[in-house]
Amino acid sequence: MVEKYTSVLDDVCDPLTVRKFTEMSSLSRNEAISVLEKYIETKGDPVWALYEVTGTVDSSEYSFLPAGEKMIKHIVVPGSALEETKKTFSEVISTCLHSVQRTNPNNTRVYGRSWANNDDLKGKTLPSQEIRQRKSVSPAKDMKKEKSAEPEQKPSSSSASKPVAEAKKSTIVPLKKQANISSMFAKKPEKKTEKAEKSVSPPPKEEEKKTRKRPKIEVDEPEEPEEELEIGNKQDKIPVKKVHDSDEFPSSREQSVEKEKSPPAKRQKKGVNDENKKAKKRLIVPDSDDEEVQEPMDVEEKKVKIDEKPKKPEDRRRTTRIEKVVETFVDEDGYLVSKEVQKTVECSPQKSPVKSKAKFISAPVPGAAKVPKKNSTITSFFKKA
């Protein structure tokens, strides 16, 4: 029988297990083992034999086994190490031929070949995937509807933080993109009423703290960033603003309103005093919240509010000013970080938009560290004054 299979076995290059040989030869397991053992004897050294030893082992050698516990161990060893391996067992249950191969077992592997390729999947498709893709569309839509529904459900709320927070939730992703950020300043007439409410609402600081997820832009005048953003938006992408009407920067609304009217919105913003710097050093959201509240109001109302901060319109027209701009970007780890930078910006109506662009959130700067600012972290609220 060995002669019958010798030619077959001589042609085999890869390691051949007993199981594979039984499948090839249609022999029973015992017969296959017998054939292979005789083949090994005839061939001698060029053929390596691996043996499977099964037996019970003590827990003393295995730290994961509790004391006194016994384990059945199956091990494949070369024929040269067979006797030595048997001694490590407390009781040997069986020993049999496992496989044969023509190379050193250390150089080839019966098991553990590379499995990490998709060659066998070429040309094949998963029919169930298509169905699931279709199904996934509707829940996504539903989710979007849910998301869009939430802010719509809560515009009547008196607190300014909620709609802002919700709007911010929807804008967390767009925050990463400068284009979308500028589009946050798109107008939204519906939100003007909110802005009106917000203008009467109490301290922006608290709102800022609660709802702040946006980049900070510190300006001399609360409306300035809006103007700048607005102007920047004008230069950039007006249609994007329209698309991002759901974004809730009230300044954007102001800007959009102003855009509709006339270019130098900055003039209106110049009414904001330096006295408001401290308040305006807060997040743009509270300022913007105030501005959002203002948006629904008429421009005159805005001026009234501006009048609260005593500054003549003429004073607004400054040639240069130093502004603290908070740049928000996504670092390499994917975290949203903000960095405060002081920049000199010209205030001329024509030029300021261009330079005020620098105050806008710039593209993410990888590797830039987060600079903690006073009252900028959650922990600052726990600290005593």
Binding site: F64, I72, H74, V76, S94, N106, G112, A116, S128, Q129
Partner: protein, 452 residues
């Protein structure tokens, strides 16, 4: 859950409650975690009262709210345990101090044990009811409970505002009658393939070896019993940081977390391995449950791995079953539960005395699969229900990825039945699988290795 195939044994997948429904997902973003505890208390309260009436006597205890308690009056209060451990990493502490201290790395857990929180005199137990929280002392120790356990406490409120415990009442447990079944189920956990051949060699070869042995026609003592199903418990791919522990969250917030991403190659390898096992004639079905770090949500309960990730397994729908974690199924009336073990590992950290089997026995006593959800284990915020409450105690609980291989038969209170709890070590480290004989619930640890 409906299954498209049937095995030799009468199989039934009863993991429906671990699957998130649309109702669960709706409004989840705005949900608070206290609602999870509220749902837990609502689910276990009637069962606690049932045992209190049985043990203390009906009408012999005064069940009131903690806020209505009077000093030195014996009352019965139901609430949630909170274990205050000083050494436990706290996100708030880390942020308050802003020191970004590098806490001890959990990833360096030794193979035979997990890192435990250091004990301190400041450690204490509190009971949180609907309106109040009170410190407990008396007939309760740190090793009897865990944060998130729902318990009834009989005792008195002292002058110092401390509640002196006379007796603890745990929820009642319900276990179905055990029926006999012929067959063997194989449990394997923690493949943790990286996609790198050198690192995965022993794991892949051990798994292939096991698969071939299960399908061999060896006779005698080395003969493999007929395998009804193979349950592969995740994680099946390796991620350096699973992100479910408090430590990982602290590291994330302090921007000091490093994570090794699992590779697509590892996923392909797993897919091929599992489908090759499933295609063997003498293996009927392979169930694949995910672990934290596998390509699915990491919030408990974990959903099944999507079939797109394991395409070959998806093509052999009749033989590969992608299931949830925890995973519960019934074979011929025998109820089996498997879990990937992150819940047990996190609970082990809170006690110096517990072993894996101790924790599993406690889970049976507490009647909750993971009471530390959502405290130290990420959990999906559900408001109306807590799917991890044990409505029916399984006959067998298998917990994967444990440092020690052990098993124990836990007696069920009020019943003659026992629950077999099994802790399974990681296959990637030990190449050990558990062969469970369903007839007599006997177990064999089997190791598959190469010495070349």
């Amino acid at each position: 859950m409906e299954t498209a195939w049937s095995n030799i044994l009468d199989y039934k997948n009863i993991s429906d409650r671990y699957v998130l429904t649309e109702e669960d997902k709706k409004g989840a973003f705005a949900r608070q975690y206290f609602e999870v505890y509220e749902a837990r208390v609502n689910a276990l309260k009637p069962r606690i009262i049932e045992i209190a009436e049985r043990d203390i006597g009906k009408g012999k205890f005064k069940h009131i709210s903690l806020s209505d308690a009077k000093q030195d009056e014996e009352i019965f209060v139901i609430g949630v345990i909170v274990k205050r451990i000083a050494a436990r990493p706290s996100i708030l502490k880390s942020l308050l101090n802003e020191d970004k201290v590098a806490y001890d790395d959990y990833e360096g857990d030794e193979e035979d044990d997990v890192k435990r929180y250091a004990g301190s005199s400041e450690d204490r137990i509190e009971l949180e009811s609907e309106k109040q929280t009170v410190r407990l002392d008396g007939a309760i120790t740190m090793d009897e409970c865990a944060t998130g356990c729902c318990v009834g406490v009989l005792g008195k409120l002292g002058k110092e505002g401390v509640f002196h415990v006379n007796r603890l009442i745990w929820p009642s447990s319900k276990i179905s009658k055990k029926s006999s079944a012929e067959g063997t189920i194989v449990f394997v956990s923690g493949l943790e393939l990286t996609g790198d051949m050198e690192e995965d060699q022993l794991t892949i070869s051990g798994l292939e070896f096991m698969s071939e042995w299960m399908n061999s026609e060896a006779l005698g003592e080395n003969q493999c019993p007929p395998i009804d199903r193979v349950v592969v418990i995740g994680p099946i791919v390796e991620t350096k940081s699973n992100g479910c522990d408090v430590q990982s969250v602290v590291r994330t917030l302090t921007l000091s977390r490093t994570e090794k991403q699992s590779s697509a190659k590892a996923l392909i390898t797993v897919d091929k391995l599992i489908s090759s096992i499933a295609e063997k004639p003498l293996v009927n079905t392979v169930d694949v449950t995910p672990g934290v770090g596998d390509p699915c949500s990491s919030m408990w309960p974990l959903p099944p791995i999507h079939r797109v990730c394991l395409q070959r397994c998806a093509m052999s729908q009749k033989k590969v079953n992608l299931v949830t974690n925890p995973y519960e199924f019934e074979v011929n009336g025998l109820r089996v539960m498997t879990m990937s073990g992150e819940n047990v590992t996190e609970l082990l950290r809170t006690s110096h005395k517990w072993t894996g089997a101790d924790v599993l026995a406690n889970l049976v006593k507490w009647q909750h699969v993971a009471p530390n959800c959502p405290d130290t284990l990420d959990a999906f915020p559900m408001a109306e229900r807590d799917p991890l409450v044990m409505e029916t105690t399984p006959h067998i609980i298998v917990c994967g990825n444990q440092p020690q291989a052990e098993f124990r038969r836990v007696p069920i209170d009020g019943s003659d039945s026992t629950c077999l709890v099994v802790c399974l070590p990681k296959f990637s480290k030990t190449r050990v699988a558990c062969f469970l004989n369903l007839k007599d619930l006997s177990m064999k640890w089997q190791n598959f290795d190469h010495q070349y």
